[in-house]
């Protein structure tokens, strides 16, 4: 465990070096957030709320999505890992005295943590000072703020476990593009990035609740704005814990299976 922690620290600091790239990302995400909010507000028109989801909830939802985008998207990729698999250099990785699943998991987690650290502060600041209807509100209560942070961190852990499946699939397909695209499209839709989950029709929402994707972003964001009841929050956290255990176990199992069949060519 100590190994993983120091690896995580190292990688996070490494990631924090890419400040200019992050700044460009901030500008893009800010634009994206502003456009989405305008579109959704135009849809809302005079409707005060949909399924208890008000315009204020919606604006909070979108700004938080954009601020913590690197926590929820699945298309964020580490091409280094793909190259390792494709070129056969993975042989070196297997020589390390670490579980390769844990090692890659830590690496991916650190990319997301440093990415979010760099982006969320400027984005949140701007979102707070946005004029009138576009501004982001503070969390509904201090208790919710703490719950928000906890669920958000659980969320990123789930998300990294999900994205590990993309890398595992590359052992079979050798080209990441296909699984990356399909995986991320489905994930994006079911995590509420295209359409906020409270705005989906009832049957679809029931499906979404069964899938892990929603627990990465949708749950913490709605806790933040006070859109969920106590029971819903507790249930949400329980299900988060379930995925948090199930996904890495399954991933680790599949990875070991893939590694057993792995033949590295070349000298």
């Amino acid at each position: 465990m100590k190994w993983y922690v120091s690896l995580l620290k190292l990688r996070v600091f490494q990631g924090l070096q890419y400040r200019t790239a992050a700044l460009a990302g901030v500008a893009t995400q800010f634009f994206w957030g502003a456009i989405s909010i305008m579109v959704f507000l135009a849809f809302y028109g005079d409707t005060p709320q949909i399924n208890g989801f008000t315009k204020e909830h919606l604006i909070t939802y979108i700004w938080l999505q954009q601020s913590f985008l690197v926590f929820i998207v699945l298309w964020l990729r580490d091409s280094e890992l793909f190259e390792l698999i494709r070129t056969g250099n993975i042989a070196y990785e297997l020589c390390r005295p670490l579980n390769i699943y844990g090692y890659w998991y830590t690496k991916l987690l650190s990319t997301r943590l440093s990415g979010a650290l760099l982006r969320c502060i400027p984005l949140l600041l701007v979102a707070f000072i946005m004029p009138g209807p576009y501004g982001l509100n503070l969390p509904a209560s201090p208790k919710l703020a703490i719950l928000f942070i906890i669920t958000l961190l659980f969320g990123v852990l789930i998300n990294v476990a999900l994205s590990m499946f993309i890398y595992i699939s590359v052992f079979v397909t050798l080209s990441p593009m296909g699984s990356l695209l399909i995986f991320s499209v489905i994930g994006e839709f079911f995590s509420g990035l295209i359409l906020p989950i409270p705005l989906m029709p009832e049957p679809l929402r029931n499906v979404v609740l069964l899938l892990p994707f929603r627990y990465t972003g949708d749950l913490p964001f709605r806790i933040y704005s006070g859109n969920l009841t106590e029971v819903e929050m507790l249930w949400g956290i329980c299900i988060q814990l379930f995925w948090l255990l199930a996904l890495p176990l399954l991933g680790n199992h599949l990875m070991n299976k893939a590694l057993k069949r792995l033949v590295v060519q070349g000298g």
Binding site: A21, A24, G25, A27, T28, F31, W32, A34, I35, M38, V39, A42, F43, Y44, G45, T47, I50, T173, S175, M177, G178, S179, L180, L181, I182, V185, I186, E188, F189, I194, L195, L199, M200, P201, L204
Partner: protein
């Protein structure tokens, strides 16, 4: 022109070599925007209209802009990945050849996987054209066709402009996505739903309004937009390519090689 076709044929052949990857990419290119469209459908299902615009009207805009974007991205991809040429120093080789630089950069890459997005755009466009509440006339069809042509040229102009910036910045600019991808996402909807400054910017600086709100209003015969000239307004978008090319040749003159 013949040279462009040769370049294109070559790229098509080389991309088809990796068949599975090619097909998967096409499928991905189809489904990425298609899920956005499903989201759009669900939104209309929930709210019925978007500030007075109907689903088929928005679907019509959506179809045209996606067709335009995919064509432009497939053809002008060379400019989109141009910073790679600068970084590797390979642009020097282009400079010594007896053909125009713009043509060669254009030929340096064609991305045929964009056919996936093109297909979904065409499907939605043809659905919308039948379901939109419009009496189609020749003039209106010319106008609708112009929305695609104008869109292709505006997007291509943007790709060229941002490629030119990499003469100075060496690296590609991520900010460019705001205008290309962002412009596409934004002009899926009628521009009138956005805040005034955003509308103005995308009318006078990057003229997406030419292929968005003006022709749509003409096709729907909205009062004030019935003049015959509005049918040709999307074609004005073609002009956007000229300042872009001018900027490009300015950039080429200022080019300093990175490598030995």
């Amino acid at each position: 022109m013949i040279l462009t076709f040769k370049y294109a044929k070559m790229w098509l052949k080389s991309q088809l070599e990796y068949r599975t990857s090619f097909i998967l990419l096409c499928i991905g290119q189809f489904f990425v925007p298609f899920f956005v469209f499903i989201g759009l459908y669900l939104l209309f299902d929930r709210f019925e209209n978007l500030a007075g615009w109907s689903f088929s009207e928005v679907a019509f805009l959506y179809g045209t802009i996606h067709i335009a974007f995919s064509i432009s991205e497939a053809l002008v991809r060379g400019f989109d990945s141009f910073s790679g040429l600068i970084m590797s120093g390979n642009f020097d080789r282009i400079l010594v050849r007896p053909r125009s630089t713009a043509l060669q950069v254009l030929g340096s890459k064609f991305e045929f996987t964009r056919i996936g997005r093109l297909i979904q755009g065409v499907l939605i466009f043809s659905w919308a054209i039948q379901n939109i509440d419009v009496q189609w006339t020749a003039l209106k069809l010319i106008c609708a066709f112009g929305m695609i042509i104008g869109g292709v040229f505006i997007f291509s102009g943007l790709f060229i402009i941002f490629a030119t910036f990499s003469f100075w910045t060496i690296q590609g600019l991520e900010i460019a996505n705001i205008f290309t991808d962002g412009g596409r996402e934004m002009s899926q909807y009628p521009l009138s739903i956005y805040a005034k400054p955003v509308q103005k910017f995308f009318t006078y600086v990057v003229p997406f309004a030419l292929v968005n709100i003006y022709p749509l209003n003409f096709i729907l015969e909205r009062p004030g937009y019935t003049h015959i000239l509005y049918a040709f307004i999307p074609y004005v978008g073609i002009l956007f390519i000229f300042p872009a090319l001018l900027f490009w040749s300015f950039g080429v003159k200022r080019y300093k090689s990175t490598g030995s």
